[in-house]
Symmetry: D2
Subunit: 333 residues, 4 copies
């Protein structure tokens, strides 16, 4: 008998990807998947890509979830804290939502609103010290999708003193699944295909999370919606201090990481190369004209940006090899 | 020590997908991957999605391949026969190309040209008798992408006498990876995005393969290039005999098949739902106005249409569980 | 002072394309555009591509519309008849909806339901006799998008006795704008990109319209949703009689038509080539194996399939050159 | 008899769009279109969207071109200068290439290489003084695609002292037609669909052009290839001086411009909204966290970024209304 796992919020895109990963995971046994409006519907109808998975979505109630050894919460921001509070301490929890990511209650109030639920262990094992922290935790707040793409590119550079934390500029484009599965007119295929458009300019809720995770003190962050289902490409620029070579810092930071690849010089990340995988691809250079450091990172927003990251954290929490049930290779083209 | 596997033609799209599947296969050990123009280049450069796979493409010579227990040939049509002829009988071979699919030398001459290399065991285990035949074979000709999508929809109906074999009409649209990786102007992203266009109308080389595999005696087949990287949607229509219910025939034929799913009534196949998987999704109905049977099938042309199918055959040839290293679940959205 | 024109249903995709065409039309003056939920919103907000068009959407009431010389109705099926009934006879009307297309009340009841509003002049000028009929009419029912693509490919062949009307098989794929602008989950960009899927299989409401317009007596019609915003590619197959050469029949039928192009032999239609234009591109051949005639047609579903077609009809109704304000050239790539 | 116009380099994407615009232009008569490898082929075969345009591509020789009143050069960078030098002074020339854009010979050598051909009048009428300069010129260097998108967003802010010219960061994503029509593997549809990837990071040849046109003294510029055929979205950030409100500056600068629209507050540009048009859509805000000014601009890279811009310049050079033959409205969705 494996580890009993439940997923709350299983009808969305991150939830569907979680179910896919769990269905192929050799140690986690999916025992329940719950939803709100889709409760009562077969998983294979809600997620056509899971045809053959014989499971019906249940209602999201604590009793169902409390029976598991591990619960993933893939709920809209602001909904996971209340549900998590009802789960017994014996159940380990990985929250894919934002509720427990921020340590700063003021930042929570400013960017999300409502009451701050308090911070859990931040689930990005590639940060210094976090691998052990996640392994020791019973409650882990998995990362935001833009946050992981940006943080993996930036955090080692600030930590090593290679760039100043004071003038960081990020433009990051995401595939549409990052905007969720609720039917909104601006997310219709007719609108997004052939289109690029920014949104929440200068005011995205991942800003405080990125600052907390990287140590940046000033962050200009512009998110862009891109005409593809999956993927995030983050272009991160910062001013070099001259104290360390940025590419060497990244090479050192990720030399032993299974999921983060600094590409060979001259090769730049492609989001498609990470599709379906838990990988992050990175490249860095110095801009000829401005002298700025430019680091570009690519992830699958549903993989390393959500479901894959969550499974990676869960593997650590249950003392499994970190790569169990996860792929480092994307399904491209 | 696992089964030693080599891939010839590893630089193309089917080759890349094969490498991805083999990298995750628990029994097959990838020991060599060869290419023509890309020989000498690291796999991770040729296939960015395989960043982290530490392997350099070799030249395609028989000595390299003969050292393996199993060789996959993912070469352009007409190139695999010559290479296969040089491999010792002790090496099992799965050919993803067309060279050994057709039993009829005239059909080969008409649709492909050049000398007919002779037929191998046809690698579609879901056909009656073929699972055992593949398991017993040392040389297997894996199916064509359009052929598998059409055959899985049609063969059981003709075999059961549910439809006449005399007036079959198929329109099938494929993602662009089915057209290969050679840089041709009409395959540029600028040309294919936002575009649908037919090609090889009434003269596609999969026609004789489909007729051989299904028993159809008259086949109108129109392939269409679709603006997506992967996936085939085949719409198959035929005239019912009234002797058997088509949907029930399909349900019976595939009840125990791991990779073929007849969807619940009312649900129609989506190609995206099979992306990255070795699945085929099917649905059937009777057209209200014409009385024709309409069966629609969806596959990933690189999965069940190429690399996945090839691995499925190889699993059988080595007496492994048929689903080893293959997923039935697609990575969607 | 030009001809005063109003558009009802201006917030949808066909309505938006109508506004674009009317804004560039030298004889039609757009005096009012109305909508339901979007009434009161500036056109440039509802349709970002019309930034700079200084017009606010009004409520759809007869008084506003009755003040125009010409009214376009771009409403959902079943809503235009009631509105049209309130307009005075002095106002000419082009209905882009289905309400007045079918002559057969039974067909209406079967495919649309509700009361049959009666047929108007069918607005496809390329059909024999229809150019004059449209020019003489005050009320014109413009064609359905699939219907025009299929009819232009098929009608001349049946009329000339080149193919039998008894066994016509059509598979037609449409871009997503054909499914409208209402926010439905299956139309989200995340769902449609990378995906092909059929819908309303064997039961689409354009079947009776196509039969009426072409003379087909048995029609198998399968519509497919394709991952692109615009465009329809219809693959039409029928059994030849041997009485006339299909390609020559089409060449003769369209020799003098400004908007219908039979492509040079060997060239097949591309939907992208018709984007933004009022063109239909055609090609025909005989299938080698089955002997069937295959005709493929491409249109822009919002152009020749909706708004362009409607303006073409209106030009005729007001005795303007038929091509006024319309382009035969697509904006590609 | 209108103004006689020829296009050199008519087989590429910018050339095709020029032909489309010229075919609908009431004053310019297209008398010749030339190409290199495609010489001798009908335009309608090379550009399927121009089916019905009865013209054969000629060879690119000076004799053919010298017969025109106006010549557009849509050649690869480095090829137009030599050809232009052979044209008589009586022929007006608009160069869509880069050869005559830069005033600084060193910058030319550094970013393009080869001999500097010398600067022509820079063809961006929206810059102060340039409208009159273009109108008075016989030789005009039309803008680069990224340059126009960035310059329209940035130049007025620097000119007004609203932002510092010393720390400008731009990330701009382009549709694939911006990369041209040469068949290269990384531009295949299979590679670009579903993918975002940067290129020429920190070293793009439009950097000196943007600096020259805007007055920026330090520019970090990262171009990204986006999965769509057309469109550029440029995210431009700079440090405000506090001397002027950026949005008001833009509003003032473009109040009377026919092709540049500052969107209503809260609305952000969509590239799709400019498809096929000569428009530029802008929006600006101040980033909450960093205090940086963020301006986002959207254009059609083949419209305002190439062919549309060139026609706008030509209109001025021939004293025609600037908007003749150009649309401000995009064809969306």
């Amino acid at each position: 008998m494996g580890i009993r796992v439940a997923v709350a919020g299983a009808s969305g895109y991150a939830g569907g990807e979680l179910l896919r990963l769990l269905a192929g995971h050799p140690e986690f046994d999916l025992v329940a998947a719950t939803a709100h409006a889709s409760a009562g519907r077969p998983v294979a109808v809600v997620h056509p890509q899971l045809a053959g998975l014989d499971l019906v979505l249940g209602a999201t109630d604590p009793t169902t979830l409390a029976d598991a050894d591990l619960v993933f919460l893939a709920l809209p921001h602001g909904q996971s804290a209340a549900l998590a509070a009802t789960l017994p301490g014996s159940v380990k929890v990985v929250d894919l939502g934002a509720d427990h990511r921020l340590r700063d209650a003021d930042a929570w109030a400013r960017y999300y609103g409502g009451e701050h639920a308090g911070a859990w262990t931040y689930g990005l094992p590639e940060l210094p010290g976090q691998r052990a922290a996640v392994a020791a935790a019973d409650r882990v707040a998995s990362t935001g999708c833009y946050a992981v793409a940006t943080t993996l590119a930036l955090a080692p550079l600030i930590a090593a003193g290679a760039v100043f934390p004071t003038d960081v500029v990020v433009v990051a484009a995401s595939g549409t699944s990052g905007a969720g599965r609720a039917a909104k007119p601006h997310l219709l295929g007719s609108e997004v295909m052939g289109d690029l458009s920014p949104y929440k300019v200068g005011a995205h809720q991942h800003v405080p999370e990125i600052k907390q995770a990287t140590g940046a003190t000033s962050l200009s962050f512009t998110p862009v919606l891109a005409p593809m289902p999956r993927g995030i490409l983050a272009t991160v620029t910062a001013v070099p201090t001259g104290e360390a070579d940025p590419r060497e810092v990244l090479a050192g930071a990720y030399a032993d990481e299974p999921f983060v690849h600094l590409l060979p010089e001259g090769a730049w990340p492609h989001t498609a190369a990470t599709a379906g995988a838990n990988s992050c691809h990175l490249q860095a250079t110095v801009d000829v004209d401005s002298g700025r450091v430019i680091v570009v990172s690519a992830i699958d927003n549903l993989g390393k940006g959500a479901a894959g990251q969550a499974v990676q954290n869960a593997n650590l929490m249950f003392d499994l090899p970190e790569t169990t049930g996860l792929s480092v290779f994307g399904a491209a083209p």
